[in-house]
Symmetry: C2
Subunit: 211 residues, 2 copies
DNA sequence: CGATGTTAAGTGAGTCAGCACTCACCAAGG
DNA sequence: CCTTGGTGAGTGCTGACTCACTTAACATCG
């Protein structure tokens, strides 16, 4: 599976949308600036300057500043949560992993890489969530709705009869992933070795799942 | 130990500081508004209105809007991280717990309650972190510096000789706490049963720690 | 003890800078 | 020439901050 990075995501949606080079530059500049200083503290003058265009150009395609933010978050909502999730799920399900460990190793490292690659957009998204309130709930619900019913069954079939696996069984994995990912999201210039982190997570978590 | 809630924290620092009733109302209004709509989207008119004062009053004590934000975050930095942490540590260390499980149960539920009680300030803090960048690193460093050397030894002495406990041993606990706390921070009106969550965390985590 | 000065707390209309957004104009490609 | 993409000086509004004034609390003194 091609990793869906910000660049990929953005590039995809940029390629699809009939945006001129300069207008794509506007989006890229906004991603950088919004992630760095926040949406509210970024002026349209900032955007124009970093994108190397005039302020008028910024408004040629986008009717207002808010629409730029939406244009950035839209791939995250539209692609990442449903479409990419579907693609991801299809790929994943087709792999027919030999063991629970193998399946989890793939899932964990793939999703961590995803977050890592998209850290800037996720940062912007988080900023928005902290101000919007139920954006979070709907995103979480959407992710669950798409992700869980497709992935969970594949994992559950590895259950030992005496210890059936449920969604709750995988909470420690989410938690551990968070401990590795949060610092990187909050301070994007930090480094993270995904493979090493994945190994550490599996080492902590597999005994309990196999018991 | 008295739980250090926002109200407690704020009340403490409000009582200490020679702020008039109306000026305390300003701070309370700011906490609500900043947590809800964000610092940048809150106008001084909003603040004055919710606090039930004139805009002039807002500026009687605070030289600018930024100073109000600082006044709100200051207790979190000044009290929570060092002072309250010390107090917490002192209380904790004095308890001489019978077992690792007992110590962890106290620590986990106490810190979760703390986060829960302070969720509004923490929300505001998070917003700021996402825009400030190295605020996070310094906060994390400070917390580690204060918290770890005092608490960790107490926990480590429960180690089995063949399985020495380190800070890394407790990563799953942080992770699990995050899975319970993050939703509440992102959507403050959610409920959380701390005791139940603590039980669930311990159930998942104790086997690995005692092995 | 009223009268009077002094200070601090509070008010809200007013000011002014900064920023989102516009528009009249240009250039180039079909 | 018309369309599409681009320009940047200009505009109007919003929102942070000010200031001349009022009110209240309380010393100080004849």
């Amino acid at each position: 599976m091609q990793v869906n990075s910000v660049e990929t995501l953005l590039a995809n949606s940029l390629a699809q949308s009939a945006l001129s080079k300069k207008q794509q530059d506007v989006l890229k500049a906004c991603l950088t600036l919004f992630a760095e200083q926040g949406y509210d503290r970024t002026t349209t003058a900032d955007i124009a300057q970093l994108a190397g265009v005039s302020e008028g150009t910024v408004y040629k395609h986008f009717n207002n500043k808010r629409e730029i933010l939406d244009a950035l978050l839209e791939p995250l909502k539209a692609s990442v949560l449903p479409a990419v999730a579907d693609e991801f799920v299809a790929e994943t399900v087709n792999q027919h992993f030999a063991s629970l460990g193998a399946a989890l190793r793939f899932l964990i490292s793939d999703r961590m890489r995803f977050v890592l690659d998209n850290r800037l957009i996720i940062r912007v998204f988080l900023q928005e969530v902290l101000v919007n309130a139920d954006l979070f709930a709907s995103a979480l619900a959407m992710a669950k709705q798409r992700f869980v019913p497709a992935v969970l069954p594949m994992l559950v079939k590895f259950s030992q009869p005496q210890h059936p696996l449920t969604l709750e069984s995988f909470r420690p994995i989410f938690g551990l992933m968070l401990t590795y990912l949060l610092p990187v999201i909050l301070k994007p210039e930090l480094q993270l070795d995904v493979d090493q982190a994945t190994d550490q997570i599996l080492a902590k978590v597999m005994p309990a799942l196999e018991a």
